[in-house]
Symmetry: C2
Subunit: 267 residues, 2 copies
């Protein structure tokens, strides 16, 4: 079992990704695909006159401010843009893809954050109407039902809160939870970077291996969205996934190259 999370950022080639996924699936691998829609959400939010806002936590973690309207736009981007595009491209490559969300059959359950602390001009502000949270429980039956019948699940946020609200969750970390719940051997986190770089953006400083005991240090080292990826990889490996690979989806055969160890391998 292989869980592959693919990003939608600039530079990621979804056509070569879909072609590669088809090859891997044809070889007999059970593959679950996860994606977010950060880039598409930001584009759509601007087009709809409700521009994206990002907040920084006191610990330096950046995340999307998700008021009710942003949640709606996030759902549009996840379900109406990225998921449909990926399913279409996979179908063109002969994969029997089925697009589902973390809402469907309560696939990704989590807690909606009661309050978020955001640093603004050096002052900590409390935000209470945010629709974001973290996946705490993966109800795998929908995924295994689809896989057993020969379908390939393509999963996106939102997740669902214990109160039944859709919530914005980080797709990297949701993919990690999914890999752990499915007892997958491997989690791939593919995006428009080679992996974790010691000195971003110098690709010559790629860190090719991170052992379990080095994860916390690597999280500290990482900046921006890479921090989420290293955290996600760490969560998966600590939960029993044999290895997680943070790798590049800009060139051909991104899945097979990551499986061959190109990128940052956490194990």
């Amino acid at each position: 079992m292989l869980v592959v999370k693919v990003g939608g950022s600039e530079g990621v080639n979804l056509d070569t990704f879909a072609a590669d996924a088809a090859e891997v699936i044809r070889s007999g691998q059970r593959v679950v695909i996860v994606h977010g829609a950060s880039h598409a959400t930001t584009t759509l939010a601007a087009a709809l006159g409700h521009p994206a806002q990002f907040i920084t936590s006191p610990s330096g973690h950046s995340s999307r401010r998700t008021d009710r309207r942003t949640l709606e736009i996030f759902q549009l981007a996840c379900r109406g843009v990225m998921n449909q595009q990926l399913v279409e491209k996979l179908l063109r490559n002969g994969v029997n893809a089925v697009g589902i969300s973390g809402l469907d059959a309560r696939l990704w359950e989590g807690k909606r954050k009661d309050a978020i602390r955001a640093v603004e001009d050096g002052v900590v502000r409390i935000i209470r109407d945010d629709y974001s949270g973290t996946v705490e429980r993966v109800n795998t039956k929908l995924i295994t039902t689809l896989l057993d019948a020969g379908f390939t699940p393509v999963i996106s946020p939102p997740a669902i809160s214990t109160e039944g609200d859709p919530i914005n969750v980080d797709a990297d970390r949701a993919a990690a939870q999914t890999a752990a719940a499915l007892k997958a051997e491997t989690l791939l986190l593919l995006s428009n970077v080679m992996g974790l770089l010691r000195s971003f953006p110098d690709e010559a400083t790629l860190i090719s291996r991170i052992a379990k005991h080095e994860i916390d240090g690597a999280v500290q080292l990482a900046g921006g969205r890479m921090k989420n990826k290293v955290m996600a990889a760490g969560e998966a490996v600590r939960a029993g996934v044999a290895r997680a690979v943070i790798a590049d989806a800009r060139a051909a055969s991104p899945i097979r190259r990551a499986l061959a160890g190109e990128g940052t391998v956490i194990s």
Copy 2:
């Protein structure tokens, strides 16, 4: 087996619809839910600065002009608005709902129209870049797989063309094809009207029964979007569905009332 198509037009109460669907499913019925997103598409198209256009065929049939950008907006509305809302409401009522589209696993296959004839100022114009078509084949395996595992499928357009393009299809007629393919006993077409009215909008003129041999006449009588509904009902009944009911989704218990024969029953 029961296929229920619900519209998203003004007046339709999706909360009471979801509560009623939950009751019917709990009673042991196998239920498949289908929806479109005509209203949401029009709203979103205006918000995104690409207002909806409708065209009229030489035979007087009205349909949405679906250029590439409109197709994208239609996908946003179907997948990101209506489908997510319905799934969320069904989950709140304890239904293990799973939202899928006609694209997923090539569920709704059809032919994309090569050319559309539109009447404009009395002149017939040929449109060649339209992404619309009709469902010709329903690949039921995804639906039956979900139902057999205890999930309730909630299906929306788009469909997929034989060339692999997403296409705008009429959800009423797609629901009819789905009911026929599943050998459903009943098809319900619920919206914000009581049924077929002899003199629209006088509800005292509701036609409560249409026999098979009366369908063509009823199609002639119907105007606007009701024409599609009567055609869809007729297609389902001619394909072996025991009865189709065009009924009201504005009040409580819309499904059970339609099953009890309230509305226009075609059989």
